[in-house]
Amino acid sequence: MFRSQNSAMEDIGIKDIKKVIETVYEVRGIDFSNYAFSSFRRRIKRFMELNKVRDFNDFIRNIRESEEYVDNLIKEITVNVTEMFRDPTFWTFLNNNIIPKIKFENKLRIWHAACSTGEEVYSMAILLKEAGLLKSASIVATDINNNVLNVARKGSYPIRNQELNSKNYELFGGRRSLADYYMQTGTRVQFDKELIGNVDFLCHDLALDNPIGTFDLIICRNVLIYFNFELQEKVVQTFVQSMAPNSYLGIGSKESLSWCKAARALEEVSYEEKVYKKSASGERP
């Protein structure tokens, strides 16, 4: 936690946060102004603490002057910890109740929005492989941050994460052992490249960029929690526009669309697992 030497740093306030947002936008064109305040403030504090920032003006100057510094800052703000088969019951529900209902024509089109380091993309690929559908799938996985996309493309993860991943995989009801999908080298594991043979990893900012296609299934779990109401509304609207007739959207287990106008076009399939459907007409039945 905050072992800050400078007690003033303990209390970075709204004005400081606005200054950071402005400066990052100036130098990078990435707009964090609609991110949820408390988490954003925490990430900034954490970055300042890790980088031993003593003076706020120095901090702003560094953002202006060093490209690497801004890269690291953006990474600290946006990178989130994810795990394979996080919330195993969600993946079981997807496997048993959703995927079999999708009547796709040519390819089963899936979008992982804000996929971070790709753990859920690999989870999906494993699920599809075990359902015999991997070769029929066309997956697009996007994130705002190219560094995390590179991690996802590479498919190399620390061995220490595999205990949790394996446990989740078992709870999900995986047919094999998770270890069947990777090779261990030293302290890392390399996931099977075949899993991402049909995956396109693309840089995409949900806050700014337009829809990227039409999909049968969109997965965006524990991303909306980092956005304020306004940005959540915009992003959900992008999703609704990107959904084919009879398609599905899955969000995080404690996220909510109940207040969201754009979500009126969707029907709740499962409150527990937070899965929503766009009906054939696009109208709510």
Partner: protein, 193 residues
């Protein structure tokens, strides 16, 4: 002082469950201040905790969803495997960032964000626990003006969490279990016991 406290945030880990039960059992259904419980819990056990707390409570116990407003009449329990934050707009916000002090939910995060958002309108209480999580968060809330209470380490089943807190600062009160129950009841009419 009258009507000052608008939120009560309680952090606890090992050994805190019975104190929490006792607190909830003592409160009437019209208790006017929202209560937020940030308790360490198993990551993959999502069901059962809210249900068992509801058996001990006249107030409705629920796990907030992202962006839910903080409302009186409710006891909010931090959901499994998420950090629980409170926004300056007095809405909840969730986060899946890394464990803090090996914990998600981390009590530090909830105390810190609630203290920032509610300042001197927050009462923060730290209970028994075998982990130092919560100490720095409560200290931070104290700096922002929150009224702070620490369970007497000699009374706590596990004294590390209250002990670590007392190393950082002097809280407004150090109380035993029964004292904590009385203190919370007294907030209703805002006459601190």
């Amino acid at each position: 002082m009258a009507g000052k406290i608008k939120i009560i945030v309680i952090g606890g880990s090992a050994g805190s469950f019975n104190v929490v039960r006792k607190i909830l059992l003592s409160l009437p259904s019209d208790f006017p201040i929202p209560i937020v419980l940030c308790l360490h819990r198993l990551k993959d056990v999502k069901k059962g905790f809210v249900e068992s707390l509801n058996l001990s409570s006249r107030l409705k116990v629920k796990e907030p969803e992202d962006k839910d407003p903080v409302k009186p009449g409710y006891v909010y329990l931090s959901p499994a495997n998420y950090h629980l934050l409170i926004e300056p707009t007095h809405n909840f916000a969730l986060s899946t960032e890394d464990n803090i002090n090996f914990s998600r939910p981390s009590i530090d995060i909830t105390f810190e964000s609630a203290g920032y958002s509610f300042r001197d309108k927050m009462a923060g209480i730290i209970l028994s626990g075998a982990n130092g999580d919560g100490a720095r968060g409560l200290y931070n809330a104290h700096i922002n003006g929150a009224f702070t209470v620490v369970q007497d380490p000699t009374d706590a089943q596990f004294n590390l969490m209250p002990g670590e807190t007392l190393k950082l600062f002097k809280p407004d009160k150090i109380l035993k279990e029964d004292g904590i129950v009385e203190f919370i009841k007294s907030l209703r009419i805002n006459t601190y016991v």
